[in-house]
């Protein structure tokens, strides 16, 4: 079965880029992938999210674009948790940006919650726009969609192709991958 991932946060936190990086990594492995942006009237600075599907094998076709019960929800802020935590599959992975989300927040007890200080880590590494990459590091090390090494390299090659590779991305990714 295809892996279903939702990435959500404020506009500008890189959630759509995170989705693009995931499907690019999947495509480079020959898998079938689909990216579906949240679609409708949105305002600048409002919420943004995308649904991503990555097939298990190159043969498996992706049918519906709808992510009703995702395996993984990558959130960059509190409202994203409000919106998507309930839809996670039992046993699914919820990635929480603990730089922004209060530590005393409670979660469903049938899911795995991994708290990542993504915004702080990205700032410390002087790559403030790399919080999404920190999250992707944690996604790789806490799930079996991609190995951390593979995803890190796929991210670098995605940006390298656009001529804007930033070596600090790999550092952000590694810091994120340490969180378990």
């Amino acid at each position: 079965m295809a892996t279903e991932i939702i990435c959500a946060g404020f506009g500008g936190q890189g959630v759509l880029t995170a989705g693009m990086l995931l499907i690019n990594a999947g495509m480079e492995q020959g898998k079938n992938v689909l990216f579906y942006p949240s679609y409708g009237s949105e305002m600048r600075g409002g919420t943004a999210n995308c649904a991503v599907k990555i097939s298990e094998t190159p043969e498996e076709q992706i049918a519906s674009p709808v992510c009703k019960h995702p395996d993984i929800v990558l959130t960059m802020n509190g409202p994203a948790i409000d919106k998507f935590e309930g839809r996670l599959k039992p046993g699914g992975l919820l990635l929480v940006n603990s730089s922004i989300v209060p530590d005393d927040r409670t979660y469903r007890d049938d899911i795995k919650v991994v708290k990542v200080a993504a915004t702080d880590i990205a700032k410390e590494l002087e790559n403030p726009r790399g919080a999404n990459i920190v999250m992707l590091g944690a996604l790789a090390s806490n799930s079996d969609v991609f190995t951390a090494e593979y995803l890190r390299e796929a991210i670098d090659s995605f940006f390298a192709k656009k001529g804007k590779n930033n070596p600090k991305n790999a550092q952000c990714f590694e810091k994120g991958a340490e969180v378990k």
Partner: protein
């Protein structure tokens, strides 16, 4: 060419250029604006003409002019903008001109809204404008098909000297998938014996006008043209139809969900199949021949009136119950379709008892 990640609308735009389209005129409207935006810079790379027209009417009529000169010409729109193009489409048909028009369907009647929808089925398949005509309508269900079908649309429109419509939708237009853009081909604007170009003094002038005035055998000409389309151009994909008791019928974004519904239903032991339409006109009646064990048909469409139900009844000779599962605000969900199928199977059983 290697696969690349592209948005549906952009893949459609690039593949139109690959097919040799060198003239575009259109007007922005969500959710098709990325086609216009993409071509606004990319058309120049390939030496074509891009015009953001002052209105949809101007856009379609510029396409008519370019088509009359032999160019591969494209315009695109959505919702109310697509309605505005209907007069021009009718004129293209009357003048026997090839051209490609894209409708990236959106929700609603009147202005509607920018969300996904499939409410244009009647307008797309019954002519849409005034007069006695229909056009071939191709309905892509993936980013790859957005590319492949726009590419094919130009060939079909020249084969019949008739406009062809590509009926994409907001979901297919906005999603990103891996796509292989078809090979670039050159289109020779002077290859036709009917297109308008300059001529020497004394040579016979060519003109493009309503062929009603020029073709003495217009009635048979029309009969033959549409018979040929109906005989030769039906396109569809059948998924597990031969033993299916309930056969889903869908196109575009709805067919993607139906594909998942068939998988889920089969895992539950329900005999369900899918006829996925690729042409909406000509209606793929041939696809229904394979449904030998069908007891009922269910159309799944993003509209409320079940616009395709009548066509399924016609294709099946009115011998089976045909029901409709519709939604407009959200893409239909697999669970809802499965529940509907289970209800239909119960009803059929009751009827048989």
């Amino acid at each position: 060419m290697a696969k690349v990640l592209m948005k549906g609308n952009e893949a459609l735009a690039e593949a139109a250029l690959a097919a040799g389209c060198r003239f575009y005129s259109g007007y922005p409207i969500t959710p098709q604006t990325e086609i216009l935006e993409y071509l606004s810079w990319r058309m120049e790379d390939v030496g074509g003409e891009f015009i953001q027209a002052e209105s949809e009417l101007a856009g379609i009529n510029m396409v008519l002019g370019a088509a009359a000169a032999g160019a591969r010409a494209l315009t695109t729109s959505s919702g109310p903008g697509f309605s505005l193009k209907q007069e021009g489409i009718s004129y293209l048909v009357a003048a026997d001109l090839p051209a490609v028009i894209v409708d990236v369907m959106r929700i609603g009647t009147g202005l509607g809204d920018i969300a996904q929808g499939q409410g244009d089925y009647w307008q797309l398949t019954r002519g849409g404008g005034h007069g006695d005509y229909r056009t071939i309508v191709l309905a892509p269900a993936s980013v790859q098909e957005n590319a492949d079908l726009i590419y094919k649309a130009f060939d079909l429109s020249e084969k019949y000297r008739h406009p062809v419509i590509v009926a994409s939708d907001a979901a297919i237009g906005q999603m990103i998938e891996a796509v292989e853009i078809p090979e670039f081909v050159d289109h020779d604007i002077d290859k036709f014996d009917w297109s308008i170009k300059g001529c020497k003094k004394g040579d016979e002038q060519r003109k493009i006008q309503n062929i009603y005035y020029t073709n003495p055998d217009y009635e048979d000409y029309l009969r033959d043209k549409y018979s040929a389309m109906e005989a030769e151009e039906q396109l569809y994909e059948n998924i597990m139809v031969d033993d299916a008791e309930v056969v889903l019928v869908a196109f575009g974004i709805s067919s993607r969900v139906c594909r998942e519904a068939v998988q889920v239903a089969r895992e539950k032991g329900l005999k369900v199949g899918l006829i996925r339409l690729i042409t909406l006109y000509p209606y793929p009646v041939k696809a229904f021949e394979e449904a030998k064990n069908a007891k009922a048909f269910l159309t799944v469409e993003m509209n409320i009136l079940g616009q395709m139900v009548d066509d399924v009844k016609l294709a099946t000779g009115g011998k089976f119950p045909v029901d409709h599962f519709g939604s407009i605000f959200e893409i239909p969900e697999t669970e809802g379709i499965i529940a509907k199928i289970e209800q239909m199977l119960k009803d059929v059983e009751k009827e048989e008892a």
